[in-house]
Assembly symmetry: C2
Homo-oligomer: 247 residues x 2
DNA sequence: CGCGAGCTTGATGCCGATCAATGCATGTGG
DNA sequence: CCACATGCATTGATCGGCATCAAGCTCGCG
């Protein structure tokens, strides 16, 4: 696995960035752009920022100024209730956008926490708005990304509102493998970047239930689980589990 | 295929509409616009559509062409899993926007169903995009609305993932009364537009649990419930219930 | 080596689902 | 007007899935 556990000594605000040469350009904001548009985007996305494992990219209440595109690494976003329970609202990997929640009130409404040492591209929001008034394709792509997030959220609501523990876990794993596959990784083998507890906080389950789920899947020959190393042995059955299939 | 509301006797496609004279203008898309901008928006939002109670404004898979602003009436949006379980993803009232899910793939990803006879303003999406390239305020307001939807969804995830039945119900009721209050209605008295089953499908509960919740609140002197007519007797306690308060 | 964070596994209990019966309001046709 | 059907809501009894509580276990790391 390409675990870039490399220590990031510099705070890294001035690294040269170029969407046009980024290997995520077909997944990220510039999806399908012409060369000219890509150049303009390069001017917009001028800086990167490094975030160490365990640190937050932004907190609830922070002023919103920019969106962030994950370049390397892995994040979770989370919201909390008054009495301290948190809900993980998503896990973000390379090419995915963070910070859309902040547009609404100019303040972030969730925390974004790096689950491993990560780098993000900083997209100053005011400039994105200006540029998207000029470039239809950028405007369109940006709107699609926001809408996609809304559709994703609908899926999570369906999961949380109507699925049983094992169904949720199966859906979670399939979603991860599909996104990893889109990034050129195996769709049968993955390393979880988050703890059982974080998976539980995402799926509305306790960590013990998540753990039992993994064990059950292993017994049933659906997965091979070794700590955070997961091998999908029977993808079809995993898919059946997501729907209402009995065993 | 798009049966939708085509059965409506008065197709109501040619009614004259004007955001500038709409009493929802401070809640809806044109929030805070200048007179000039309002005129341009009037040109954009040229038609209305009527939807009868029980009919759908759009279905999963319908081509996305326009957003809809609720003018009168009440809607629910819902998504369904393979095996037929549905999740209600939201309830929309006057001044709220429907259809944002469709931008992502040009196809709607949920159903929007009228819970009572309703009217919506039709906002052709292509035109909205064009106009928002010209008017910064429209662009900004539109982005805020999408972002607000994402933030709302985070709140629903928190509810579904971490709250108990009565907390969910209390949160639901408070949310409704607040939105009604913003529209000039009483915040202590409301008529539910949806069945217990629909509330349950939104909150991830069965209708019996919702019913028991109402009864419990009534016993505790928090609510007075008579069918769908609700009176909030103790708003503070309802608020406590939303947080983790033992009672 | 020993510590601690994270994980697994078992025992028990509770919340909400399920099953079932009844109540209540509205509507419809005789 | 009544008889009856229908859709929605309430309430009770029971059941089951997941939370909770409680031990150990594993592995990475100082």
């Amino acid at each position: 696995m390409t675990v870039s556990a490399s220590v990031v000594p510099i705070k890294a605000a001035d690294l040269k960035v170029a969407c046009s040469s980024c290997n995520l350009r077909e997944l990220c904001l510039p999806m399908g752009f012409s060369e000219h548009e890509m150049d303009r985007l390069d001017a917009l996305v001028a800086t990167r920022r490094s975030v160490r494992r365990g640190e937050t990219l932004f907190h609830v209440g922070d002023k919103f100024e920019a969106l962030f595109a994950v370049r390397t690494g892995f994040f979770k976003t989370r919201v909390s209730s008054e009495d301290g329970r948190d809900q993980v609202t998503g896990f973000q990997m390379a090419g995915e956008l963070l910070g859309l929640d902040g547009i609404s009130t100019d303040l972030h409404s969730c925390d974004a926490v790096a689950l491993e040492d990560s780098q993000v591209c900083v997209i100053p929001y005011g400039q994105l708005e200006s540029l998207s008034r000029e470039f239809t394709d950028l405007q369109r792509q940006f709107h699609r990304i926001m809408s996609r997030e809304i559709v994703r959220d609908q899926g999570v609501m369906l999961l949380l509102g109507s699925m049983r523990a094992e169904e949720r876990l199966a859906a979670f794993l399939l979603n991860l493998t599909q996104r990893l596959q889109a990034r050129g990784f195996s769709h049968t083998s993955l390393v979880l970047r988050m703890t059982r507890e974080e998976i539980g906080a995402y799926l509305g389950l306790k960590l013990e239930t998540v753990s039992r789920g993994f064990s059950k899947f292993q017994e049933d020959g659906v997965l091979q689980v070794r700590q955070r190393q997961i091998h999908v042995l029977d993808e079809a059955k995993l898919q059946q589990l997501v729907n209402g299939a009995e065993c």
